[in-house]
């Protein structure tokens, strides 16, 4: 298990309004792994985003499903604030289409 594999699982979580996965959207700021736990630090496109709780719960669910033996902790931060420049090249291409 490595960071890239975790990211691949997180790509299954889609922002319902934008239709793009949270990794390419640039919402995932950091992933920490050890033998027992996974810590994800992420943000939302806007603070108090109405879909925020849903997105965070989906992240927890996807990771718990994929790594049942690990404790999952998701932390939200708004520093730095998300902006459109954080979207990956793949994400921009998707939105361009």
């Amino acid at each position: 298990m490595n960071e890239n594999q975790v990211k691949q699982h997180l790509q299954e979580v889609i922002d319902p309004e934008i239709g793009l996965n949270i990794v390419d959207l640039g919402l995932v700021y950091g992933i920490k792994l050890d033998q027992k736990s996974i810590q994800v630090t992420m943000t939302l496109t806007t603070q108090f985003c109405p879909m925020g709780t849903s997105i965070v719960e989906s992240v927890e669910e996807v990771l718990k499903e994929s790594y049942p033996d690990h404790a999952v902790e998701v932390s939200l931060t708004f520093e730095p604030r998300w902006n459109a420049a954080m979207i990956s090249a793949e994400g921009k291409a998707f939105l361009d289409g």
Binding site: P16, F48, S54, I55, S58, S75, I87, L95
Partner: protein, 432 residues
Amino acid sequence: MGTNVTASAGKDVPVSVVLPFYLYAGLSFFVATLLLFFSSESLGGHHFQPKILAITHAMALGWGTMMILGASYQLVPVLVESKLQSIVLAKTSFWLAALGIPMLVYGFHTFQLNWISHLGGVAIVAAVLCYAINLAWSVSKSGTESVQAVFVLTASLWLLLTTAWGLLLLLNFSMSTFPADSLVYLSAHAHIGIIGWFLLLVMGVGSKLIPMFLISKYSQDKLLWLIYALTNGALVLFLLLELNPHLQISQYPSAAMMGAGLLVFAFYCRSAYQHRIRKKLDPQMKISLLAVALLLLSFSVLVALINLVDTGEDTGRLVFAYGFSIFFGWITAIILGMTFKTLPFIVWNLVYRHQSSRRKTPDPNALFSHTVFRVMFILYGLGFIGVFAGILIANHFIIQSGAFLMILAALLYVWNLGMVAMHKPENLNSHE
């Protein structure tokens, strides 16, 4: 550096707060189009008459204001970056307004302005007071400075003044609360509501949501402050000139200020559009952007009206065209579009949030019929053009034909609204 997720859980505004406003507004729109159809002959005489007052208040309060109040409760946390402080105040504002509006509209329609319509007016002012207190409370708890929060808060204060002024005008019919006839103060009442409440709120909320939905990199707070100053300045100047007719100064300076504010806002929207990352626009966004164009139409009619007033000519038909282009034009267009940019997500959040991750659930946009939405859009557009043109050329048949298309558009809107509101969870296994 992070905040644990539990800190954000439970901050969502309950659907039971927001949904009643949407449904009430949808039904009000339908009723207002029916009133328009059956009262179309009234669109020829003087604008200060019972049926026109009933239609205007059904549209301004039942449709526009109820929809905006409901959407505000959902969007306030996004706009002011603070949670909505009181669910009780939000629900109280619904019941007060929901009871007060029909009492007032019925009073206007029958022109029986007795204690029932007075009570309705008091209930509406109380509802707006609940809204303004809740909003100010939420803004005060926000840790960040937001220009949009200032727009929305100022708009709520103008709404409070509009409804309080309206109540005094209503009482003036029987108690002489003003030194002159109510007609003298009608334009001030109407423009505090149109510019101070609707326009300022649409600009404030639009300046946040349009770039957000377009995923635009554009942001320019200085321009927004300029728009804020021009819009409020234009309204204050308008009121000064309107309430002091002895000055005998034309309204052109206030209109020029308002026009400048609208142009800067249109420039802001265009810049956000040009810097967008999401290239493909959905129909809901298209109709919302159309509202910005309709705003400029209302403004053009206003300039023509001022010209007629200054030259002492009859303003009759143009007053109707002006009012129609506001309430059935840009206010309606923006609501028709934004309803389906917000409500499906609110309902989706309620139905699917605790069931599964997004990969197993339907797209929120699939909660309403896009075909019905498109047909509604076309009928609304044709209906608007029909009534507007019919008023200008004083053709009753064209007005009534346009009003009939508006009724059909309202029916389709309510149909789609009901489809979203009554959505039941799908069998999630079929999406795997």
